[in-house]
Symmetry: C2
DNA sequence: TCGTCTTACGAGAAGCGTAAGAATT
DNA sequence: AATTCTTACGCTTCTCGTAAGACGA
């Protein structure tokens, strides 16, 4: 179960081809063939059917393990190197788009005022990638947001020992167009909306709502990016509903008209919050640790 | 980061000696020396100080990663082999001592009545070992118990994709000797008992209570085994309090006297339950899957 | 001086590439 | 016939063990 062979295996499975995997990994097809043969001999189990190249049931199980395993391996390496590295004066931050809200942006500004010489790089990307970057040491700190019950943690991918701390919770509202029949309501129950038209977005995955409430929540439109502006416009145009933190929605009810967003309707039950968590590995004393403290409430 | 080198590293660190590790692993000292050198060269970081042989800060970080990583690797291997193996007619069950309570023993008996030809092996061991055995495929099913808030999951060690399902929850009571001043009380609040004398046992670790309630809960006696009978006798003899499921405690108040256990006092707040979870990897259709279904409520 | 880790060196094994072979479409 | 995986074979690299060397207690 050499990790080397494991990456080869996942690459072959992904491409469905030995030769394509060889091209990607910089080996000859022959080498790939030998590596897969070695892995199958080691386990004593056929992992791939040939022609077409397709994982066997056992191979499918191994594929489920291989990804997280290799991720943790890279995370471990990064963590060890970090422990040995000198504290630096450049700090790399990874955050999901909705994570850097007004509160956290202000805290970040206050912290930077304390350490004016600190260079900060901020990169926006998806939830999983934030976790991965922090685990692999590509980012020193991560901020990830998501939908959760009050004071419940988010469910982030498991990448080994990583510190997570909630740094912000905010009311979550139902976002809908200004001319939507429900736009004027004082509050809504999520259970009453299971049959509504919903947007599927990485910001508010419908699978998460099903976890929390139950079946339903069919996707009227599946948005694969993670741009807040786009989502707001999709909702305003009536493509479907979604949940957004109150601070993203307009403060006053918009004048009813094409393309405007309503003020957002609070959720009566279940109470859900937009939660932001701070992620980091072991932090040596230094700017990263200081910033982590400053970002906490 | 060859797993091979990783196990060598952990062995050396555990023994604090290259030669002792060589003896355990069946290599020469020279080979161990070269393996550690290779690992350090690969990471570009010193992992062990020599004379005395002791992990550096970076080495300590790697040690924290290596254990879980190697466990997951063995778990992955076991899972793949299980997927390819023939369904067998021997079923291996691992359980913590308190997990096989009256309810589950009855369910198990009912299930066996359905499949009389099925051989069942039951092994009792600690919580972590149950999880490990299931992960590594040494057991087909595991039953682990612990203290939890109602309908909250237990916190079991992370060994990769493993199915856990709560199969039993039972009232948890404060166990105390029959002649204890609090023995007659109708209910107790755990917060009022932070300063009492407590038993530290694997069945009810005080660290868990601190998680749930707060600081306090000093250990008057630390019991390292996991035998229920012994714990009951320790409590009855007045060595300290502990929490036990109601079914373990005597049904009627014992006549006050030396070595008798009181009926047990219910917990008013927080509500805590004795929870049993069923653990298993991916189950192919067969006796193991049938039994898993039968054990669920 | 003794115990312990490191280094040098040779033998064996393992891994990769080239090239030819086999199997499927 | 073309594409794609497998096998054979030689070369290189890696890894281990033996044995000698270096370093501390």
């Amino acid at each position: 179960m050499d990790p080397h062979l494991l990456t080869t295996f996942t690459t072959v499975a992904r491409h469905g081809s030995f030769s394509a995997a060889a091209a990607e990994l910089g080996y000859t097809q022959s080498a790939i063939s030998q590596q897969i043969a070695a892995l199958e001999a080691d386990l004593g189990v056929a992992l791939l059917g040939r022609r077409p190249v397709e994982p066997t049931p056992a191979g499918r199980r191994l594929l489920e393990h291989a990804g997280p395993l290799l991720l943790r391996l890279r995370a471990a390496r990064a963590d060890v190197l970090r422990a040995a590295a000198q504290p630096r004066h450049r700090l790399r931050l990874a955050a999901t788009p909705l994570a850097v809200n007004a509160v956290l942006a202000a805290r970040l500004a206050r912290a930077r005022a304390q350490q004016p010489r600190l260079e900060v790089t901020l990169l926006t990307c998806g939830r999983e990638q934030v976790a991965t970057m922090v685990a692999e040491g590509e980012a020193d700190l991560g901020l990830a947001d998501g939908v959760a019950a009050p004071s419940d943690p988010l469910r982030l991918p498991d990448t080994g020992p990583m510190t997570t701390a909630g740094v912000s919770e905010e009311e979550l509202r139902v976002a809908l167009p200004a001319d939507h029949p429900l736009a004027g309501r004082a509050a809504l129950r999520l259970a009453d909306l299971v049959d509504a038209r919903w947007l599927q977005t990485p910001l508010c995955p419908l699978a998460r709502l099903r976890d929390l409430v139950g079946e339903g929540f069919a996707a009227a439109l599946d948005y694969r990016g993670d741009d807040v502006h786009t989502v707001v416009n999709l909702v305003a145009a009536g493509h479907g509903l979604t949940l957004l933190p109150a601070s993203v929605l307009p403060a006053a009810p918009a004048p009813s008209g094409c393309g405007a967003l309503a003020r957002g309707v609070p959720l009566a039950s279940p109470r859900l919050v937009h939660r932001v968590e701070l992620l980091h590995g072991a932090l040596p004393p230094g700017p990263a640790a200081d910033l982590a403290v400053a970002l906490s409430p």
